[in-house]
Amino acid sequence: MDVLTVKNLSVSFFRTEGEIEALKNVSFTLREGEILAVMGKTGCGKSVLCKSILKLLPDIAKIKTGHIYIRGEEITGYSEKQMQGLRGRFFSMVFQNPMTALNPCMSVGEQIGEMVRLRRPEFSGRERKKRVAELMELVGLDHAGERARQYPFQLSGGMAQRCVIAIALAAEPAVLFADEATTALDATVQAQILELLLKLRERTGMSIVLVTHNPGVAARTADRVALMRDGELYRIGDVEEIFDESTPN
């Protein structure tokens, strides 16, 4: 069963200058437990794709046509309330810049804890704390107790990104969107984060949509690769296929 199916999705931004087509007729499927890399130049619509599925686009953007299904059920027409039910449960997202993605006025422990509370309202305070510590360990953050009390500005980029991943994991998602999750990090940390993602996929069986413009990242981590250009998803296939033919993007 495909965990996520997108059919003929078209999204446009309606600015004062006119209509800008961000996604044109995009279709793809995501299988259970697979890592799909979505590659393309900056501005080709990769991020918009993720945000469209999550319905996190700003007011000026509208889904013109298309259908989105999760495990066979159509969610295209879901209201905001229904989407809130999916976000943080079925879907989860890791953002590009951890320093801006985290709330600067809250400690990281609080922010991870909030996700745990939302996902598992039945947990008691102590259980929640335990879960937060578990998650922090899982993503490779040491001294979880101390770290949890720190604020984002006190952490390095790599550590902060791990916190963002911890938050995303706390949602226990079926589909994780990683929107340029490693772009803002240096090469060594990048490698570590990718290893982490692979490990997590092994453990939890979640599917990952890995948005990146870096072919190295895709080659190393993905099962299948989708190529985008100017809002169109023009090619999708197994990672070996795509990279063997050395298709320029």
Partner: protein, 334 residues
Amino acid sequence: MTNRHLIKMVNNIGKFLISVLVLSVLVFTLSRLAPGDPLYAYYGERVEKMSVEEQDQARERLGLQAPLFTQYVRWLQRAVHGDFGISYQYKTDVKEVIAAGIVNTLLLGGLGFVLIFALALFLGLFCAWREDRLADRVVCRIGTVTSCIPEFWLSLLLLLIFSVWLDWLPSSGAYAAGGGGSLPDRAAHLVLPLSVVVLGHLWYYAFQVRNRLLEEVRADYVLLARMKGLSGRRVLYRHCLRGALPSYLSMMAIALPHILGGTYVVETVFSYPGIGKLAYESARYQDYNLLMVVSLLTGTLVILCNLTARLVNERIDPRMGVRSVSAGGEVRRL
């Protein structure tokens, strides 16, 4: 408390005391600049009937003949012991005169302050949530108009409507003469002046809250918060409000002396016997002793609140991990 904290605290207290001292010198000199005879304040019209000798004697008695510096030192010496002299107008100890007024002003200004900031927060949130929709636009329009109405004119208008035409509310004083100041009586006398104080300042702060929140709402972390499954409104209250809080608190700190000290217009129109009225009278009629104490009170409050605001900014906002551009701070120079 570590040594560093202790030193910093002593430093701050020292700066505070010096500021107050310099303030007292300034106020002392400034008050003597004004023309007009303090003798008028003391003796009223009788001054004109007094001979030059009698006037000189009176001045000698009041200690007004000595050079300015001596007068100041004399005042300082007495002030340190708690003796602030006698009000020329009221002929009683300055402290007594002020005590009566302070309660009234604290009621008016204090209540006003609390109301303003509670309502400002609510209004700011209301408008931010409905950004650019009809409700927001209407409230913004109304707010802008009310903020343009001069306080004294609003007072006059309200008096005209509610006191003169409708006769619903009393037109002056803090409580009915001889009434003893029961709660409903005081309340009735407070309604109009309080409304003016609140209406006069409310929109300014509500607008700041609204704009600050709108800035926060454009931050990336809002997207992550929504990704967690939180509704937009929850994100606004739980996350964005936190980000706006430090600046709100420091705004409150700076507003306090401004609101408390700015009641003199309202107090004058409503004949409300508060500090503001005393400040006005003492400035107008050269009641030096009273003027000194009132000015020092308000000035000290300003200095204190500025200090608090600065401390709030440095401590509470975690974003200020890097030193902020506070006045005279250690920032890169050009």
